[in-house]
Symmetry: C2
């Protein structure tokens, strides 16, 4: 069977690695990205450039997108120059951005209206997971669509979780972000408490991390905090977007999650102070700063 | 060298196991407990009963206490019938309750005034860690005191962290509780979000637990939530006490920790609704209930 023609929109840190795996697996690949230079390494390896998302759609059987914000998703998939506008009947658009479940539902409806399918497949695993094709992928949309894109998802990820109808993939990812909010608070607030209490914070972390207080975040990002390394694995500005989407879903569901609310506020304050390009672990400094203190590491 | 005579005050879930290890190591042991019946298994194995904490102090070179609340610590160590009132010069009182750093400082001062030493050695590792002599122990107090009690701590725990002067052991433990607050929010809020979003919560947990959102709490207590098992490994009423102590320290240090505050409030609401005897993982139901919803597992 001939390989489907793949389209790719968005070549940021995540998208670049992910599209690279698709290309390496031998699929014909057409790319559009806001900044062409960021796609150059893929073009050098044989990918085709398209001048617009619409042109990507016209050249592809299956189009993946992974961009910044829901408004970007809306533009590149549903806009006048969006992928669906160019796509023939039978195509699939698969958005891998962490985005709004309601928008994912809308994309699926728009796709269905022209005989296509819309899937939402946000991922977790970060830049390292993307590079090593070790992402976990939450899938929303029709089962028939999943069967068609599964070989491609397997090029990018290890765990594929079918979550339900369109929008449910986003909900699975947002639930993951709710959990992340808590472990970030756990890590950063406890480290800051330890510092202000006058403890040897490094030794304290080694003592508690193997126990009930331990988390992946404490082990990975807590150690970065101790080195004063606030470089982004994951940008605060993207996390604020994700937490806002989580809160929006909470409102739709009639749910009040006080920990999530507190995290969203703390990160939004940091965004307001111009710290959106730092990594999420910079929260340890953000909480300190809000009290007129400083993280000493 | 002759083994020091050990005193033990408090034979709850933790204390009973811990005192058992001391006895098994061959130390002469004198016990007082509010409820004598709870000490019976130790008395059957050769421990001596004393009618008051003061009598324990009079019979011992080193007295350990692990009781419920700071007011209990104050009573059994500093009270008229407390251990220090009975203790000869050169003795050590070592409180293993999670309690107030300020009280630990006061105990050390009172002890020093009569030629004794006061140490604070709260633990983490729960009932299982106590049973398996695998606790982590935070130690506050004089280095000379630690050297004298170290062989005894090694009967109960695996990791011994010297934290500094009197009170610092408590601060090390409280920082651990700040971290626990965050991982409990992470686990319970994300599970509840997943349920309300209509996800298969069990499958969702298996997907996210190995990733960046993962924590010991999610793996251990999250799974108990999925079985509807709210039995106490750790009582909510004790955690509310701990979180209150954390907030008190925050006020002393001029620190505002919004995640901690939110957790303390959520757990305090549950205490107010008569749920103090449930395990901390019951937070998943508590958050649901506060919104008029129910945890379905």
């Amino acid at each position: 069977m001939e390989k489907p023609r793949i389209g790719w929109i968005g070549t940021g840190v995540m998208g670049l690695s992910m599209a690279g795996h698709i290309l390496a697996a031998g699929y014909p690949l057409t790319i559009y990205s806001r900044t062409k230079a960021k796609a150059q390494s893929l073009l050098d390896k044989g990918a085709q450039w398209a001048a617009s998302p619409k042109a990507v759609g016209a050249a592809s059987d299956i189009v993946f997108s992974i961009v910044g914000f829901p408004k970007d998703v809306e533009e590149v998939l549903l806009g006048e120059q969006g992928a669906l506008a160019g796509m023939a009947q039978g195509g699939i658009v698969c958005d891998m951005t962490t985005s709004s479940p309601a928008l994912a539902e809308r994309i699926a409806q728009r796709a269905a209206a022209q005989g296509c399918m819309g899937m939402d497949c946000p991922v977790t695993g970060g830049d390292v997971g993307a590079r090593n094709a070790a992402l976990s992928i939450f899938v929303g949309g029709e089962a028939a669509g999943l069967e068609r894109i599964r070989p491609l998802l397997q090029c990018m990820g290890k765990i594929i979780m079918p979550c339900g109808v369109a929008g449910m993939g986003q909900k699975g990812k947002l639930a993951n972000q709710v959990a992340i909010a808590g472990v970030m608070f756990s890590t950063c607030e406890s480290l800051l408490f330890a510092q202000e209490a006058g403890l040897d914070v490094q030794q304290w972390l080694e003592t508690v991390a193997p126990g009930a207080a331990g988390s992946t975040a404490m082990n990975v990002l807590g150690r970065r905090c101790l080195k004063g390394d606030f470089a982004p694995g994951f940008f605060i500005e993207h996390f604020v977007k994700d937490l806002g989407l989580c809160l929006e879903e909470c409102r739709r569901m009639g749910l009040v999650l006080p920990g999530l609310q507190a995290a969203e506020q703390a990160y939004r304050q940091m965004l307001g102070r111009g710290q959106g390009k730092l990594g999420t672990q910079a929260l340890v400094g953000g909480i300190a700063e809000a009290c007129g203190k400083a993280w000493q590491h």
